[in-house]
Symmetry: C2
Subunit: 282 residues, 2 copies
C-alpha cells in the first residue's frame, strides 16, 4: 500500500494508472476508520482495479460551533486498517495543499440540501460537495463509494456528479451497524457508557417504524410521533429532527407511499448522531 | 468537421481521442462567431491535436433583464466559419441536455467576481463558471481558450480550474479589434451607425490612459476621470463603470503600480459593451 501526501504526486499516480487502463475506485473518508468505511473498500475492490482511500478532515464542512477541533484522528491505525482491507493508496493531502491561501471556489447543490441536516448545519453540504469535487478531479475515479448513514450526503454528491457531467458513478452502500444496531460512526467514540447504551434507540425506533408501516400505517405524522416517543424515553437523548421524506428529493411527506426515507438526527449528551432507513410502499 | 449535438456522443468522441493519446483544445463560445473567436481557434490549433468549439447560449449567465432572448444566433454561418478556421468538432448541445429538469448544482468563485461586471450582473459569473465546468467535464480539454475582452471571466475560470484541481490550462488570449479599435463582440451587431461610431471611444480612452500612465501619472482617480471625460463626450454613451484594479485580484487601486487593469463597461444606446487593457508599471 502506498501513502501519498500531496496532490501533484497523486495526479502523477492517477495518470499512470489511466495509461495502464486501470479503473479507479475512491473511498473518501475523514479517517478514524471503522467497519463502515471498510465495507466501502470491499465494494470498491470488487468493482475497480485500484482502490484509493482519501483521508482528509475537511474544515469546510464543519460549522464554527461544530467538532472540527476534537474530531478523532489516528493515522497510524487508519493506515493499518486500510492496508489490511486491501486499499492500494491512502491519499492524505494537507490542508494547505487542498485550500491554499486565497482559495475561493465552492460548489453548491440546491434543494436536496435544504431539508434534514441542511437545515441546522449551515454550509455543511457546500463544504462536502466542494471537497468531493476536488477529490474527484484529483483521483479521477470511475466509481466513488459513500455510506448510507450519510444518505443526504451521498444523494447530494450523486446529484453533483450527474449535474456537472463528471462521468463518475456514485454508489451508496448500506449502513454497517454495531451488534445492538447503532450505525457505525467515528463520532460514536465521543459517547460515554450511558449515552452509548441510549444511542441504540435510534435503530430500534427505525425498526419499530418499519413495523408500523408494514402493518399498514400510512400517516407520516403518527409514525414520526412513535419514533420521537421511543427516542425521548432515553435520558441522554435530545432530538434535532425526526423526518419522513421522499427518498429522491428529500422533501417532507404527509402520506407514506412510494420510496420514502425515515431520517433522524439526535444528540446524546453533546454528541450528534444520525441514522436513517429507506422504505418502499406499494 | 464534425457537429455533435448531444453530451453523451461528445463524451464518446472524447474517450476515443484520449485513447489515441490526442490532446484537446476547447474554445467555449455562445456562437455568432467573429475574428476574436477565430483567434482562439488559431491558438488552440497551434497547441493541441483536436480543437473543439462549443456553441451554447447559456441562459444561466444572463440576468432576467438582460439580452438572452435577442442574443444573435446564426448556426449555419458559425459552422462555416468554424470549418474554415480548422475547428475539428463543433459541440452544440441543447438546453435540455445541459440543464435537464431538476438541475440544481452551481459553482461560484468568490472575491474575483465581486467587482467590475460582478457588481451589476447578478449571478452572471455563477452562470459562467457553472456552464464552463460542465463543458470542461464533458470535453476534458488539456487547454481552454478565453478572450481578454472578458478578462474577469477568463480570470474567474482560471481560478476555478486551479482551485478545483481540474488539471486544465486556461489561456487568456489578446483582444481582437476592428480597424477603429472597437473590441470584437457579438453584441456589436446591436449598435446603430451612430452608436457604432461612438463606441470607438472605448479603445481610444484606454489608449489615452496608457499614454497618461506612460508619462508618469500614478493617481488612479485622475486617470479614470480622463477616461470618463473622453467617453462622456460621445452622445450615445452612458458609463456603467470605469475602474482601475490590480490585474490579479481585480480590487480597486488608488495608486498605479505593479500590474494593473483599466476596465470599462459602457452602454451605447441599449447595448452594453466592455473593454480593458492591462498595464505594468515598475
Amino acid at each position: 500500500m502506498k501513502t501519498i501526501e500531496n496532490i501533484s504526486r497523486m495526479s502523477t499516480f492517477v495518470k499512470m494508472m489511466k495509461k495502464e487502463g486501470k479503473s479507479i475506485g475512491l473511498v473518501p473518508t475523514m479517517g478514524y476508520l471503522h467497519e463502515g468505511h471498510l465495507s466501502l473498500v470491499k465494494a470498491a475492490k470488487k468493482h475497480t482495479d485500484v482502490v484509493v482511500m482519501s483521508i482528509f478532515i475537511n474544515p469546510l464542512q464543519f460549522a464554527p460551533h461544530e467538532d472540527l477541533e476534537k474530531y478523532p484522528r489516528d493515522l497510524k491505525h487508519d493506515e493499518e486498517m486500510a492496508r489490511t482491507a486491501g486499499v492500494d493508496v491512502v491519499f492524505y493531502p494537507s490542508l494547505k495543499d487542498m485550500y491554499p491561501e486565497g482559495y475561493a471556489t465552492y460548489v453548491t447543490v440546491e434543494k436536496l440540501t435544504d431539508n434534514l441536516c441542511g437545515e441546522s448545519r449551515t454550509g455543511h453540504f457546500r463544504g462536502v460537495t466542494t471537497v468531493v469535487i476536488k477529490l474527484f478531479n484529483i483521483v479521477k475515479p470511475d466509481v466513488a463509494y459513500f455510506g448510507q448513514k450519510d444518505m443526504q450526503q451521498a444523494l447530494t454528491v450523486k446529484k453533483m456528479a450527474s449535474d456537472l457531467n463528471m462521468g463518475i458513478e456514485v454508489k451508496m452502500m448500506p449502513v454497517v451497524r454495531e451488534k445492538d444496531g447503532l450505525a457505525m460512526s467515528s463520532r460514536n467514540m465521543y459517547l460515554n457508557d450511558a449515552e452509548r447504551k441510549d444511542a441504540a434507540v435510534l435503530h430500534q425506533s427505525l425498526k419499530n417504524a418499519e413495523t408500523l408501516i408494514k402493518n399498514g400505517e400510512r400517516d407520516a405524522g403518527k409514525v414520526m410521533k412513535a419514533v420521537e416517543e421511543m427516542i425521548r424515553s432515553k435520558q441522554s437523548a435530545r432530538i434535532e429532527y425526526v423526518k419522513l421524506v421522499d427518498a429522491r428529493e428529500l422533501k417532507d411527506v404527509k402520506m407514506i407511499t412510494g420510496e420514502i426515507a425515515l431520517s433522524v438526527a439526535v444528540f446524546f449528551g453533546k454528541t450528534r448522531l444520525i441514522d436513517n432507513t429507506t422504505i418502499t410502499v406499494r
